[in-house]
């Protein structure tokens, strides 16, 4: 099964469960407080998923390592390499 199919299956499953509950198709008498929460639930989930995504990406951007040391090390090795190669007869 492709990843797309997996997503569609999961969404269809959740969506139909939600639809069945809100429409009362199962014949369950849910208390009205439950009904009130249930009806906008997909919107809540969507918003919290969005917040999670933004929060995660933001955190990861903020904590992305800046490899200053690696860049400095490379620069000094470049000098070393040029000198060594020139000594071995390399024409740059």
């Amino acid at each position: 099964m492709t990843k797309l199919a997996q997503w569609l299956w999961a969404l269809a499953l959740l969506g139909s469960a939600w639809a069945a509950l809100t429409m009362g198709a199962l014949g369950l008498e849910l208390p009205s407080s439950c009904q009130e929460v249930l009806w906008p639930l997909p919107a809540y989930l969507l918003v919290s998923a969005g917040c999670y995504a933004l929060g995660t990406v933001g955190y990861r951007v903020a904590t992305f390592h800046d490899c200053e040391d690696a860049a400095r090390e490379l620069q000094s090795q470049i000098q070393e390499a040029r000198a060594d190669l020139a000594r071995r007869g390399m024409r740059f």
Partner: protein, 260 residues
């Protein structure tokens, strides 16, 4: 040269039970180049240094796609300096793409492991001994360098570039669940036969090609180890991340999402 001595006499005798011929491992580095005359001598020097310091048997296969800047001339000089058993020149007439460059290089590789990396100095050869250690530790089929884990990181990226990179990585992880943290990186070690199999299966180009390699690897149940790397953005030459790159990345991502 010292490195030649090292390759003739194995530095340590490693007896592995269950292996028919306990031959020494050899690592072939595939270096596709296009207009890298500044970087090529430096990357080769760093590679030779890293390999000979850790006593690893190696060869470097330079696949130059007809660079107009004289990369080939530089490569020939390097071949003279380090010897044609260490530096193998296998140029092609014109620019033909990364996937076919690897296929081309693989034909000549005599190592049982293949290392692929960029020749622009963004990937430092000092990590290769760590890749090898990691591979042996978990007997992995693939070891991938990662900028997104542990001490990994980048240098020379502005905020916009970081946001795009992290964002793209996040979406990819959610949609594809690939089992590796850095999909668009191209600093990796493969068992030779694994790379051969994967290249056969992969159809995409550019960034997406690297991504597809990992996705196919997961499908074929290959194991993947990861080593944090520092990515130092191009010292010489232009770094490329334009709108076109992003669009083709998204297209490739969605294609993989719908087909794998």
């Amino acid at each position: 040269m010292a490195s030649e001595e090292a390759s003739r006499s194995p530095p340590r005798s490693r007896q592995e039970p269950g292996r028919r011929a306990p031959r020494q491992d050899k690592y072939s580095v595939l270096l596709p180049t296009y207009n890298e005359r500044e970087n090529l001598p430096l990357i080769v020097w760093l590679l030779v240094k890293s390999f000979s310091q850790s006593g690893i048997d190696y060869e470097i296969i330079i696949i130059d796609d007809g660079s107009p800047d004289g990369t080939r001339d530089v490569a020939e000089q390097l071949e003279k300096i380090y010897g044609s058993n260490k530096i193998l020149l296998r140029p092609r007439e014109k620019k033909l793409g990364l996937g076919t460059a690897y296929i081309h290089g693989l034909k000549y590789a005599t190592g049982n492991y293949i290392i692929i990396m960029d020749a622009d100095l963004s990937h430092h050869p000092k990590f290769i001994p760590e890749f090898i250690r990691k591979q042996k530790e978990g007997n992995f089929d693939i070891v991938s360098g990662t900028r997104y884990k542990g001490n990994g990181g980048v240098y020379g990226w502005d905020l916009k570039r970081k946001i795009i990179s992290r964002g793209a990585n996040f979406i990819t992880q959610i949609l594809l669940r690939p089992g590796a943290s850095d999909l668009t990186g191209s600093f990796r070690l493969y068992r030779k036969e694994v790379l051969q199999k994967l290249i056969e299966k992969c159809v995409s180009k550019g960034y997406v090609f690297q991504m597809e390699m990992i996705i196919r690897a997961r499908q074929l149940n290959y194991t993947i180890g990861e080593v944090p790397i520092s990515f130092v953005d191009r010292v010489y030459g232009e770094s490329k991340l334009g709108g076109n790159e992003i669009v083709s990345f998204l297209k490739g991502l969605l294609t993989l999402f719908a087909t794998t």
